[in-house]
């Protein structure tokens, strides 16, 4: 927005403040829905990045970095590390690389919950997708 006339973005910013949370909660729902229904780490990650892109559209880059001081390259690296470690974890049980397991665990407060190690792998995918997408967008956005 390098135009000489400054526009007042009050409507866009107010709507963004509300809609951001709706998009993020929907992306988290998609992330956990991936086991039995459509969804998963990739779509959830893209959804979350799209929410942050909406913030970037409504505010400027400096403000968003102030709100979310995250290094997205580190985030992508952390995601890859988590995904690899879930694969390495299968060696401790004497099964091939990337073997996944699941089981019903009785947790306090939550009751009978099904936990799967595939969710951890999906978390890695989720972080990589957010990291890569926002690294691309921020790199393009910062070069004048």
């Amino acid at each position: 927005m390098n135009s000489k006339i400054k526009t007042n973005d009050v409507i866009l910013q107010t709507i963004t403040k509300v809609v951001f949370f709706i998009i993020v909660i929907f992306s988290i729902y998609l992330f956990f829905a991936g086991h039995y229904t459509p969804g998963g780490g990739f779509v959830g990650g893209l959804m979350t990045s799209s929410a942050i892109v909406l913030l970037l559209l409504a505010y400027d880059v400096k403000t968003v970095v102030g709100i979310l001081p995250v290094n997205y390259i580190h985030m992508a690296a952390a995601g890859l590390l988590i995904a690899v470690l879930t694969g390495v974890g299968s060696f401790f049980f004497g099964v091939p690389f990337l073997s996944h397991t699941f089981g019903h665990v009785h947790l306090p407060l939550l009751g009978d919950t099904e936990l799967a190690t595939a969710v951890l792998f999906d978390l890695g995918v989720y972080l990589v997708v957010i990291g890569v997408t926002l690294t691309i967008i921020q790199t393009i956005g910062e070069t004048e």
Binding site: K6, T7, N8, V10, I11, Q13, T14, I15
Partner: protein, 158 residues
């Protein structure tokens, strides 16, 4: 308003803990008793009793839906008319609303009214520039907006 709702929830939870039963029915019972209590002690609070605000929100939703239907019917009339004899133009409207969300809701409501559309908001949030499909009754449109929407929105944030 938010504080009263929070207090009401707190009373409802207390009621559940006293009963020792954690069901939705007990929560609603506790919520109802808390509502009666807050109503009885409504003079303690800085803001008015929050059910009136909830009523104002419902009224705003009703106005919103009514305007949506009316505006689409008005546009249908204009589109199907054999000749368009309207004079389009942009007029300025001064608003007394201060908060961001109030101005956003007002702008969206104006956009949904028949024949008006918000194109710009001034830097100090005091003036709205509105494009009218027919400028012949701009003054009438101004008063209309002032009397219905601004009042309804002010009711909500009282």
């Amino acid at each position: 308003m938010a504080f009263q709702i929070l207090l009401n929830f707190f009373v409802a939870f207390l009621w559940m803990f006293l009963k020792g039963q954690y069901a939705a029915q007990d929560f609603f019972n506790g919520y109802f008793f808390g509502l009666l209590m807050i109503f009885a002690l409504r003079r303690f609070f800085a803001r008015r009793f929050y059910l009136w605000n909830v009523g104002a929100v419902l009224k705003l939703i009703y106005i919103f839906n009514r305007e949506l239907i009316m505006s689409n019917l008005a546009v249908l009339k204009v589109v199907l008319a054999p000749k368009i004899n309207a004079r389009p133009g942009i007029f300025k409207l001064e608003t007394e609303l201060k908060k961001d969300w109030e101005i956003t809701i007002l702008a969206n409501l104006i956009t949904l009214t028949p024949g008006t559309l918000v194109v710009e908001i001034s830097e100090d949030n005091r003036f709205l520039y509105i494009h009218a499909m027919d400028l012949g009754d701009a003054e009438e449109a101004r008063n209309d907006i002032k009397n219905t929407f601004e009042k309804a929105i002010q009711e909500v944030s009282r």
